[in-house]
Every structure is written in C-alpha cells, then in structure tokens.
C-alpha cells in the first residue's frame, strides 16, 4: 500500500538537488494474479513540486514508473526554503511532504 515519502534536499550553489523516494505499489493494471484475475491499476498519476508554496515542476506519470518511485530533479532555491512534494494516484489517494533546505 501507499506509504510515507522521503525527501532529501541538498544545496548545490544557487540550486537545490531534490531526491525523493515514494512508497507506492505502482501497479500497471496489466498484470494478473495467481488465479489469472487482472490486478487493478494503482499508480501515481501526478507529482507536484513546489518551493515555498509556488509550483515549480509538475510530473504526469504512468504505471511504467517503477514500484516505490525514485524521482530526482533540481530547482532554483536556497537554504531555508521549503520544498514540498505531493503525489496523487489514480484512486484519488494523495500524499504530501515538506522539507526545509538545510
């Protein structure tokens, strides 16, 4: 099941490198269980990254992103800024986590 999200934000000059690990099954909907019944799709469809509340990057994902997704990107930010990641999946579940750049 969907679980917590871990975010690391590291200053690199006037940029901040963000690395996130999300706990999510990322079930494609193409697989079948041992009795041959299709396993319903359950994957993150959207990830929104913001700095101090302002959206800087939006990702649209398919079930082809690996289970427990890893996502790395860089933003223009500095020490003390708050970086928030929010994901929404195809069942409408969502998770949001904020870290302060140290």
């Amino acid at each position: 099941m969907a679980g917590p999200m871990r975010i690391r934000a590291q200053v690199n000059g006037d940029e901040v490198n963000v690395r996130a690990l999300m706990a999510h099954p990322m079930e494609t909907g193409f697989r079948k269980d041992s009795s041959g019944n299709p396993i319903p799709a359950h994957y993150i469809t959207e990830v929104i990254a913001s700095v101090n509340g302002k959206t800087v990057l939006t990702a649209e994902w398919s079930g082809a992103i690996s289970t427990n997704p890893y996502f790395e990107f860089d933003v223009k930010a500095k020490k003390g800024d708050k970086i928030t990641l929010k994901w929404i999946d195809n069942k409408g579940e969502s998770k949001e986590e904020t870290v302060e750049v140290k």
Binding site: E60, T67, Y70, F71, F73, K76
Partner: protein, 123 residues
C-alpha cells in the same frame, strides 16, 4: 484529477503517443541527453536520466516503445526548475527508449536502445 496528457498516455503505439503529445515532428538533437543503461538486468527498475541543454525547456517526456503504453512520463517545468529529471522505469522487454524535449515551443528528441534480460511488466 485527470492527466493533462491523458490521450498520449492511452496510446498503444509510439507514433500515436508522440502525435497525441504534439511531438510527431520532433527533430533529433544532441542537446537532448538521455542516460540509460545499455543492458538492464532487471526490467522492473531501469534508471533513466533526461537532460535538456536547450534554452527555454518547457517539458520533458519519456517513451518506452515496446511497453503496452509507450508514454511513461511527462515533466512540465517552470523556469524555477532545471531541465534535468531522473527516475526509474519498468521495461517489459528490450526496446528503444525515446526522450522528447519541448523547448521554445518546438520538439526535440533522442533515442537509445536498452536491452532487458529480465522483463519488468510480467509476474
């Protein structure tokens, strides 16, 4: 919320997915840098990094030609995000991987073949 690029995500063929994204005429460019392994031992977790060296990069998209739905991800960037993203994807079998960049309203692409020794979409 429905994905903005839903039609492109539903496409079953690479050409259809590119067309649905508006990127059918993407020009091959050395300024789109796709870093992916030549051989992936585990198709369930294949690292992918896409970097654009083009000014005014607005979006980055990643396609895996032989997956049931080739479009894997689209990243929409504002000027506050740098044009580089890294993630891990599933590949059912050996396939061309295509990275598309939208910059200054135009589309650019590059591709690379990744051989998969153990598929990631089966059981």
């Amino acid at each position: 919320a429905a994905r903005q690029m839903e039609n492109a995500f539903q496409a079953k063929k690479l050409e259809e997915a590119l067309q649905a994204l508006g990127a059918a005429n993407a020009a091959e460019s050395g300024d789109v840098v796709l870093t992916a392994p030549d051989i992936a031992e585990n198709g369930a977790v294949v690292p992918m990094e896409i970097e654009s060296k083009l000014p005014n990069t607005e979006a980055i998209a990643l396609f895996i030609e032989k997956n049931p739905n080739p479009l894997a991800a689209v990243f929409h960037l504002t000027p506050d995000a740098l044009p580089r993203v890294k993630t891990r994807v599933k590949m059912g079998q050996s396939s061309d991987v295509v990275a598309v960049v939208k910059a200054g309203g135009k589309y650019y692409m590059t591709k690379k073949e990744v051989k998969v020794t153990l598929g990631g979409c089966g059981g």
